[in-house]
Amino acid sequence: MQTYDIAIVGGGHAGVEAAWIAAQFDLKVLILSMPGVGLASAPCNPAIGGVGKGQVVREIDALGGLMSRLADSSAIQYRILNESKGYAVQSTRVQVDKDLYTENAEAYINRVSNINVVKEKVVSIKESDGCYAISTEKNNFKVKKCIVTTGTFLNGKLHTGEESTSGGRVDCEMSPGMKEIFSKVSTLETRFKTGTPARVNKDSLDYSKFVEQKSDPKTKNFSSLNDPYKRFVEQVSCYIAHTNENTLNIIRENKERSPIYNGQIKGVGPRYCPSIEDKAFRYPDRHTHHVFVEPEGLKASTIYPNGVSTSLPKEVQLEFLRTIEGFDKCEIEIYGYAVEYDVVDTSKLSDCLEYIDLPGLYFAGQVNGTSGYEEAAGQGLIAGANAALSLLGKDKLVLDRSDSYIGVMVEDLISNKRDEPYRLFTARSENRLYVREDNSINRMAKYRNSLGLNTEVDEYQQSFLDEYDILWNLVKKTSIYATEKNKNYFKSVSYGELSKNITLEELIRRSQVDPVETLERELANRGASFSPEVIYACAISIKYEGYINRSTIENERIYRLGKKVINWKSIVSGNISNECRQRIEEVKPTTFSQLQRIDGIRPATLAFVAGNIIQ
């Protein structure tokens, strides 16, 4: 019998992140992972980041996590999304070499002496005397805390056309032996479903028919410890192709052979990530869709055709893919499939992602009904840190939804029963102007600091914040006088009029100037030297400060009502729709803001309740 402080069941993105953070507390950590599969593999699209998700990766980085470093060192194409739409909604996304990503993950984890990776199938997990006894086919372990990050392996079922097999992924068998512990855990009634497209041989495509997207050299690395513009490996391009009427007609003709539409799959898929079948049937008015041709790696023989995930029979997959311009002679290496799986009822989890009725047992990642590597890693970090903090008797780590996307995600998960896979959108945050990529250190430093760890991350953050404070004060106090010389200068650099003395801060806020370029230029003019990262974060923060304050003041009135205590029992007895009634009975909200946050609550119901609240 081997003993560990913390065991992590599952070596995916959530599991690796949980182990990485827990190990920083000098605890003995065990990762139990499927034999024959690398750590942190990427079975879906080979990309890290994206709108909202890029912010999460930077939050993970600032909290001392691993995903940022793995992504940087495996990135083969960089891009800033929403680049033209304003700094607050800009997000980084990188395509990664998926084999390299796994290699890097193995290397990073193996370098940590207090993490042991055991690749054996778990046969049973049992609770005993406040600890957990875990058995694999060969070994028995006794651990104080157990973090379950089993992804889609919980009763997973794969579908390709009429074929269906047990398993969580196309290259792995189903995870057995979890039945005992899961008999005590409440799972959602509806199963979730997710899917992937076929993997296509990269040499079978005609790239001259696609629009090329080159890697962007101006995109910054995720990890603050890396030189922002360093590229670790060779950079390659992505391409954009389009489906057409013929593609969609083939799919529509084969409706009865689609497991999603013939009743074979009962799970609920994400609306925001529809399969090509969904697109064809649900939006009959649209005649074309984007297909992103994403390389899966420098050495890999396949590309990932993002946008055409499917569970149609193999021959139909090939037929419709070949209607796409540039795909006429395409060869499929791995066929697309859909996977159905059970999901933990996250409303039974605490804000530490601990199962409230089974202390010491944590859940993180796709098993909690989320989709996306970033969401999984973010939860892994929260579960891993809290398992460690709890073991050490320290204060828990809970991120506020007002200053982080991870905080938004955890609160959304635990305050609702999910009815479809959960993905982070920037729209889920009420504080989007503040929860940005550029200020992730400013937002996360207090949380990182509270862990009481002292690593190079902590040192870097302290020096960053010191420099930031100096610059912030400088910008607020520096005056620009309305002299003739300055007036002419303003005209020459298109700063607008200078009719009276202004501060540097006021200049940066002007809508006609780019805040970052302007601050860089003005600091250079004055011979002041600051790190580009500090200038970047400071300039953008100043730009948005006024808008953030304005919305805070306006929102205050809403919050005042939000804090009001409500009696859900009396609400459900009122004249409201059945659907709303059911939702309220499930969630049992105690304040108005909780009620507002329940999915599917109608404005009429809110009005009914609000109209009746007077304390």
């Binding site: 739409k85 607050a88 984007h290 992103f292 948005y544 809403i558």
Partner: protein
């Protein structure tokens, strides 16, 4: 203010304290146990049946104060969800006051504050905010239009329209979110189309609601008709003429000839306040000057403004102070005494008006000629007015108002009495005001105005700023205003505002 309210039992008269009537209804609400009032009643309160009427003597010690019909509504089966005791008493005001005092002096109850019964109904979830607002309209309705809108609010129809506005706002908000979170999936161009379309649709809805709050609320809720003119122009004759069918209404304000006189006039179920103002003339008399200023002030805030002119005594300069006013109707009096009178020339010297007529205005004769009828549909559409000459469309046709010789009353004598014609003109204006379907609830008017202003600000912002994050943040501010209209966000001060609108004793 609501926060000053306590939970003690309250008492008030529900049938008004202005006039005597056969029955007055007194309500007591919010007591723990009906037996606490036993000493006031001859019958045994323990034996009464809930929601049934019982006859009893009302006692002050040994003395019978009144004979009353009492009904007990036990919570939650009452208007406001509390225990309510209703007393039907004799409706003499002194009697009602005496009975209320009797209960208050016992220390068992206190006098209700404004709107407190409804406030408690809202608190006990017997009514929603919208319903309370509808109730307010119903109870204070001075026109059938107000009654209808009160019912509309009470039944939630208007609320549903606001939900439609909210849905359209959600579409706008979604289009911004799509542009941020899903522009890759949807495509940039499509994102822009969605955003522009959604903004257009929302703008259309807001603007059409906004139009409904543009008419003056006082015109709708308590419209007044003012008579302005020189002394001896015939204002008082017209005043009496208009009221001749409606003598039952009691004057609410005793005026002097130096001030103004007003009475209520009911036209087809709508109540108007008819105001006869002091005669306008050059004077050195201080008090009279004040009266004249007052007359001009009353006129300028009136719903329907009538200028009465005596051409025989008029120096056009006397109307200088009125030159900037627009009148709904000019009446040229003393028709019977006019010879070779050029009405067109005369009218042009007077302040602008939509309608004009010439009449004799003597007490018993009502002969008149309609000279012009402005934007309002000709009166002949409403009745048998064939003999009256009418000019449509506001422009003055020379042949109809040309020089008039000796007026022949018999040939031009109208079929419909003059007062009916004037009342029709007033009613037409009021109906056309109502035909825009104006909104009467103050809170809604304020919210819609706020939404409109925020939307204009938002549109100005989107023209100057490309940063969609800022656009979205500003949109959230608009969101709060739309939600407030639905009552989703109701800060306490708004609620306080609503309840201070209530009359005692509902």
């Amino acid at each position: 203010m609501i926060h000053l309210y306590d939970d003690r039992p309250i008492i008030a008269c529900s049938t008004g304290l202005q006039t005597n009537s056969a029955i007055g209804l007194i309500r007591i609400s919010g007591f723990e146990n009906i037996n606490s009032f036993q000493k006031f009643f001859k019958i045994n309160l323990q034996k009464i049946k809930k929601r049934y009427s019982h006859f009893s003597a009302l006692l002050d010690g040994e003395t019978t104060v009144d004979e009353v019909v009492l009904t007990y509504f036990e919570n939650p089966h009452s208007y406001n969800g509390e225990n309510i005791l209703e007393l039907g008493v004799h409706g003499n005001q002194i009697n009602i006051q005496r009975i209320i005092s009797l209960f208050i002096n016992s220390g068992l109850v206190r006098a209700a504050k404004e709107g407190e019964f409804s406030y408690r109904a809202l608190k006990n979830k017997k009514l929603t905010l919208s319903q309370v607002e509808g109730l307010d309209l119903l109870l204070n309705a001075s026109s059938s239009y107000m009654l209808d809108q009160g019912l509309q609010v009470l039944s939630g129809d208007l609320h549903n329209q606001y939900l439609g506005l909210h849905a359209s706002f959600l579409k706008l908000k979604s289009s911004v979110e799509i542009s941020i979170d899903f522009s890759e999936d949807v495509g940039e161009e499509q994102c822009e189309v969605l955003l522009n379309d959604a903004l257009k649709e929302f703008n259309k809805k807001v603007t059409s609601l906004w139009r409904r709050v543009q008419s003056s609320k006082s015109d709708l809720v308590s419209p007044s008709i003012s008579l302005v003119g020189q002394t001896n122009a015939g204002k008082s004759s017209l005043f009496n003429l208009l009221l001749s069918n409606d003598r039952s209404i009691v004057s609410d304000q005793a005026g002097t000839t130096r001030d103004y006189v007003s009475e209520y006039l009911s036209i087809e179920g709508n109540t108007f306040r008819l105001v006869d103002t002091a005669g306008i003339r050059e004077t050195d008399d201080h008090i009279e000057k004040i009266g004249i200023e007052r007359a001009l002030e009353i006129s300028s805030t009136s719903f329907y403004k009538i200028l009465v002119v005596n051409p025989l005594q008029t120096k056009v300069e006397d109307y200088n102070s009125l030159q900037n006013e627009t009148f709904d109707l000019v009446i040229i009096s003393h028709l019977d005494q006019l010879n070779n009178f050029n009405t067109e020339e005369f009218l042009n010297k007077l302040p602008v008006s939509d309608n004009a007529l010439i009449a004799d205005l003597s007490m018993n004769t009502t002969s008149y000629t309609l000279l012009k009828s402005g934007s309002i549909e000709p009166v002949s559409n409403n009745g048998s007015m064939g003999a009256v000459e009418i000019t449509k469309g506001g422009s003055i046709e020379p042949e109809n108002i040309g020089p008039m010789g000796a007026v022949n009353n018999e040939t031009l004598g109208p079929i419909e009495p003059l007062e009916d014609v004037i009342q029709s003109l007033v009613l037409d204006k009021f109906n056309s005001l109502c035909s825009d379907n104006p909104l009467l609830v103050s809170r809604h008017r304020e919210c819609i105005n706020n939404i409109y202003l925020s939307l204009k600000q938002f549109q100005a912002l989107t023209e100057n700023i490309d940063d969609i994050a800022i656009i979205s943040s500003e949109l959230n501010i608009l969101d709060a205003k739309v939600s407030e209209l639905l009552g989703i966000i109701s800060p306490d001060d708004v609620l306080n505002n609503i309840f201070s609108n209530f009359c005692i004793g509902k």
